[in-house]
């Protein structure tokens, strides 16, 4: 009897002692990051700063050769040679303007052959065949995490190629002994993706509509039974009307005349913005750099600006000349970077058919 008490008491005492002195509930201290610090003298510190200091803001430029001038005149006060007759600007342009019929089209042909765009809506991935009710797997491209976003997707260049604006194949030195040309350094464009990788979005190859559930098949007509009531035919008629309503509603939803699909995502909008800003040349020292200009335009289904649709709808921050220069620079950016057409999801055409772009150079002025 007492042996049990002794054993129990001893065990409890051991447990209490373990809790108190064994560190059962003692938390481990948080790890502390330790950074080594070297104590250096002021001279050493200045030497370090000097080594890391960027070069002075000036550019070494070759001193040009002094111009050839006439020999120095005699010590007597020299004379200024008479000024030539100042060319008189003519208020009216005298060159004969080309005949209107000779003028090239306002929007000439693009540099690259335009990508063939079918105006019809993409095939629906959910063709309502009874035996293909399973969901259709999308073939949308996978965006790779490339730091640069450009209008054209560019694969990673070979490591031995120099990054440049254009692809340049390596050229072999000429065998001609008289030739002094050296082999050109092969260049390649920087790796780029057509969209911001953090937001993979639906592209043109993605389905435009989800797989619709098949309508429930009509029930077989009930055999008239003398003992049945007339409620059964009413249910059948109701089911039929529901199916008809569903089919009609779905057909209406798929009609091409109505904008379909969600609006452009943030990633798609950013891709368009980045495409344009890569061509927006800002003269930060000019008065035009104080002008914020808004341009409206219409895009066709290929993503190209519709001829004659590009127009200025707002401007602020400068006089007429500065505003015109700002508009011209923005227009050049839009037209130059469109190439074969801006890369926009065709299934969302109704959302980017009309575009307004505001060019705000405030951030550039601070560079």
């Amino acid at each position: 009897m007492h042996i049990g008490h002794y054993i129990s008491g001893g065990a409890h005492a051991a447990l209490i002692g373990w809790v108190l002195f064994g560190g059962v509930f003692r938390s481990e201290p948080d790890p502390v990051e330790v950074t080594g610090v070297d104590i250096i003298s002021t001279a050493q510190f200045e030497a370090l700063l000097a080594a890391e200091r960027p070069p002075a803001p000036e550019t070494d430029v070759e001193v040009p050769v002094a111009p050839e001038v006439a020999p120095e005149p005699s010590p007597a006060p020299p004379e200024i040679t008479p000024e030539p007759d100042a060319p008189t600007p003519q208020p009216q342009p005298t060159p004969v303007a080309p005949a209107p019929q000779d003028l090239p089209p306002a929007i000439p042909a693009p540099l690259n052959p335009p990508v063939a765009i079918d105006d019809t809506a993409p095939d629906s991935p959910s063709a309502p065949k009874p035996d293909e009710a399973a969901p259709v797997e999308s073939v949308r491209p996978v965006a790779r995490p490339v730091p640069r976003v450009a209008p054209e997707a560019v694969t990673a260049p070979d490591p031995d190629r120099e990054i440049a604006d254009v692809d340049q194949a390596p050229t072999a030195p000429s065998d001609d002994a008289d030739s002094v040309e050296t082999a050109e350094t092969p260049t390649a464009r920087e790796e780029a993706a057509t969209e911001i990788p953090t937001e993979p979005q639906e592209r043109a190859s993605a389905p435009t509509t989800s797989v619709r559930p098949k309508a429930r098949p009509n029930r077989p007509a009930a055999q008239p039974a003398p003992t049945e009531t007339t409620e059964a035919p009413e249910d059948s008629n109701r089911d039929s009307s529901v199916n008809d309503a569903l089919a009609a509603a779905l057909a209406e939803a798929d009609a091409p005349a109505v904008p379909s699909g969600p609006p452009l995502t943030a990633g798609e909008r950013d891709a368009l913005r980045i495409s344009v800003q890569e061509c927006w040349v800002v003269d930060v020292g000019s008065q035009a750099a104080n002008v914020t200009v808004t341009i409206a335009m219409s895009l066709d289904r290929a993503g190209q600006v519709v001829s004659g649709s590009l127009r200025q709808i707002a401007a602020e921050g400068g006089d007429e000349a500065a505003t015109r220069a700002a508009f011209d620079a923005a227009r050049r950016a839009i037209l130059r970077c469109q190439r074969g057409g801006y890369n926009l999801p065709i299934e969302k055409y109704d959302h980017w058919r009309e575009v307004e772009m505001t060019f705000n150079p405030e951030k550039m002025r601070r560079r």
Partner: protein, 443 residues
């Protein structure tokens, strides 16, 4: 129960049909562009068409000067002719924009030159926005003598620059400066005048006496400068056309220096040192009437008018260090605008009126900088052993200044820099040069 399910299905179907319409974006897609690129704009200048047989060489020369002007700004980059797909052989023919787009020429400049055999030439030109497929402005024609072909080229370049940037150019302008020659301990100085690009150099004075700080009049026909030919500094005014001069301030026993014209060209502000004190004065050139603008016991000098003629910026050490101040053009209370470290001097008001260029000395180095007229947004554009004496291009876009190298063999030369701090480069001169003053655009 069946009725409820049917109603729900109908409702869902109705929602499904209307949802895309509800999600459709109202109005156009709106994008804001806040980032761009800073790079020279590529342009093409095919050889100008010689409309007469005797104009072939001068047509080439004019096109070269136009290209040199534009590329020299750092804002434009000429596309080499080797890259051209087609050429311009007929000035009046329509331009094949596709050929120029293919080489990424954003601007195309075409021209034609004709000579009449009597020493007169005519230069026509057009500027095209290649990607817009249209002309920027209308074509122009300049007429002049064959001797003045460089000026005509500069005028073409000015017009092109203006049409692309929206600002007036500065190529048809001149610079007056102090030409320096000889060793540092026996340096010969005389006034020289040249085109902004160093061409057509002429000397205005001989080197028998030291000359300093020439300043163009607003019309470019006169030059103020300081000369030691009487033994102590005095302000002279020189007529550029006749190269005749007269002393402006002949008060005996005083030193006058740092002159500058008022915007209307009828008055001059300058400094006079009398009895050890230096103050700023204003004089009507026509009447000789003089008024004193400052009367502090400190040194006040280097005055410069605002473009509207209502204010004057100057340097003073009244606070203990050399700083910049602005006062009314008639004198009165001055307001300090420079508060950074170091010493500020030689302020010059921009022709645009928005900036003031200055020389700054700090920690053993000299800088050319700009700041807003209220002293804000100070930006240093250069740094060297000795940079000083800024002068503005007539459009307020470029600053020219003096840079002097260190040591016994050091020499002074002229440099220019864009107001954004880019495109720092030497200015072509014969020998050394200092104290540049940029003229207005020539008429």
């Amino acid at each position: 129960m069946k009725h409820i399910i049917a109603s729900l299905l109908l409702g869902l179907a109705s929602l499904g049909a209307t949802a895309p319409v509800a999600r459709a974006q109202d109005g156009p897609l709106r994008i804001e562009i806040t980032d761009g690129v800073i790079e020279p704009l590529p342009y093409a200048v095919p050889a100008f068409v010689a409309e007469t047989g005797n104009a072939a060489q001068i047509a080439q020369d004019i096109a070269r000067v136009v290209a040199a002007d534009l590329s020299g700004t750092g804002l434009f980059r000429e596309i080499p002719k080797e890259a051209f797909i087609s050429n311009i052989t007929n000035f009046a023919a329509p331009v094949q924009f596709a050929d120029w787009k293919a080489i990424n020429a954003q601007a195309l400049i075409t021209g034609a030159v004709s000579a009449d055999g009597a020493g007169n030439i005519a230069v026509s030109f057009r500027v095209y926005d290649v990607f817009a497929g249209q002309e920027l402005g209308n074509g122009l024609r300049f007429r002049g003598t064959q001797d003045g072909w460089r000026r005509m080229a500069h005028k073409v370049a000015d017009a092109v620059y203006s049409r692309i940037t929206g600002e007036s150019g500065y190529f048809d302008s001149r610079v007056v400066y102090v030409s320096e020659s000889g060793p540092k301990n026996d340096r010969k100085k005389r006034l020289a005048i040249m085109d902004y690009d160093g061409a057509n150099l002429k000397f205005l004075t001989d080197s028998t006496s030291i000359v300093l700080a020439p300043r163009f009049s607003p019309t470019g026909d006169r030059v103020l400068y300081t000369s030691y030919e009487t033994g102590f500094p005095q302000v002279f005014v020189l007529d550029v056309g006749s190269v005749t001069r007269r002393v402006l301030e002949a008060q005996s026993g005083t030193m006058s220096f740092a002159p500058r014209f008022s915007p209307n060209g009828q008055e001059v502000v300058y400094s006079i040192t009398d009895g050890g004190n230096t103050d700023i004065y204003r004089m009507n050139i026509g009447t000789g009437v003089r008024s004193r603008l400052t009367s502090a016991p400190s040194i006040e000098t280097a005055p410069s008018f605002s473009p509207d003629g209502r204010q004057i910026v100057f340097e003073s050490d009244r606070s203990g260090t050399q700083q910049l101040y602005i006062m009314p053009a008639s004198g009165g209370e001055a307001k300090r605008i420079s508060f950074g470290q170091g010493r500020y001097g030689t302020p010059v008001w921009s022709p645009r009126g928005d900036l003031i260029a200055f020389t700054k000395q700090n920690k053993g180095r000299f800088h050319i900088g700009v700041m807003r007229t209220d002293g804000s947004e100070e930006r240093l554009l250069t740094a060297s052993f000795l940079d000083e004496g800024p002068t503005w291009a007539p459009n307020g876009r470029v600053i020219m200044f003096t840079r002097e190298t260190q040591g016994a063999t050091g020499s002074a030369s002229l440099y220019s820099v864009d107001v954004s701090g880019r495109n720092l480069k030497p200015v072509r001169t014969q020998g050394g040069g200092s104290d540049p003053s940029w003229s207005p655009l020539q008429e």
